[in-house]
Symmetry: none
Amino acid sequence: MDWEPGLSIWKQIEKQLLADISDGVFTPGEKMPTEMELVRRFGVNRHTVRRAMAALVDSNVVRVEQGRGAFVQEQILDYPLGSKTRFSQIVSGRHRLPDKRLISSEVLKANSTIAQFLDVKPGTRVIELFSVSEADGVPLAVATSYLPAARFDGIVEIFVETKSLTEAFKRFGIDDYTRKTTRISATLPSSRVANLLKQARNRPVISTESVDVDSAGAPIEYGVTAFSSDRVQLIVE
Amino acid sequence: MDWEPGLSIWKQIEKQLLADISDGVFTPGEKMPTEMELVRRFGVNRHTVRRAMAALVDSNVVRVEQGRGAFVQEQILDYPLGSKTRFSQIVSGRHRLPDKRLISSEVLKANSTIAQFLDVKPGTRVIELFSVSEADGVPLAVATSYLPAARFDGIVEIFVETKSLTEAFKRFGIDDYTRKTTRISATLPSSRVANLLKQARNRPVISTESVDVDSAGAPIEYGVTAFSSDRVQLIVE
DNA sequence: ATTCAAAATTTGTCTAGACGTCTATACCTA
DNA sequence: TAGGTATAGACGTCTAGACAAATTTTGAAT
């Protein structure tokens, strides 16, 4: 690499990296060479590379995680928290491909918390769904959902097939449902959640706890969702 | 200075400097020791001081000028450019003390530009007012105003007394007036203007050219104002 | 006194190296 | 197999020094 005079080298490196990102050489989410690789590529000192990266971090183009590396900052998805928000609609609306993969499911007896939210007696059989929501293959959230088993027997297969709870509910005659309550908090993810989100354990997640009710007001789902705070921004309206 | 463990030294320096600024050790506009002075004060390497200063610059607390030094960033005043904006109202609204000092005044014959804007014949006698507007003693702008002499005979004394054109106009029966046009540009100040603004000649000023009209639509003032771009930000609504 | 050029100041950039902290991975042990 | 440990990899901080660029000061010449 040869440097043009009049513009500091670190700015030229910043410019080049920015161009690479625009050109898709480095794709959002992962990639970006290590500092030492950039040192070799540009033939400058590590500090010079760091100066350029600092500028990119400052302008929110890349995100750096100590010990891991630098990552092209994904476009943060605005996720409106309305009473009728549907994951797939929101993602599709941003011209990104939504996907919701089921990780595991089982039937268990409701503890007092679950029973309370689903308005059933403790010990009632409920279906637990553990799933990952993705956009363009990038995980945005992991969700644990609880549904009353008696009402939704066989919903797991439908969910796996349609990859959408909204669709699955329709097969059970629920064409419309509403978010009743949402509680929001920020925590650090468990290693399992961090793994599924493909994010560092020291990056926080936004946790929401919500209950969906059918048009009659009966609870049909109680769920806890962990959003990657690097990729999703909740919008409360 | 002794460093507490767990927090990087540059962050502690940043914190200390921030505290100094809050405490008024370094006052807005001028001051701030040089890098080498800070090096001696904190007993660290120059780069460490620079890292701290960079953070302060980033958070807009300090402004650095190569070859000159670092300056505590004055609070930038948002100056809305509405048709009824009054300097003293804006400054008072920010809980700062407005002042408008007359530097010089004279009566001269209008050249074609002035005549055009004031809608009078070239050669008509006009009053020229040259004044400095300040907030809390800090100069924000210098203004050159032209008023038709025939209509506003004796306004200079009133202006000096009330330090406000708005007030002076009132004495002439003008309770309400409106900004008609405003043209905005950015230039480097003349040495005289830079001096009055107490700012460096290589720091730009925002220049506005405006015409005020009375409620009947007759021009009462044509003025050119140079705002210190470091201290004022024009807001167009 | 003014002007012009040189010198001194002050901040900006780049290089070099050392060590700390955090993360991921491989390996070893129970 | 599970869990802890050691190690390597990667970013974070700090020091040291040199030179460049911009500004201010100094001083000499006119």
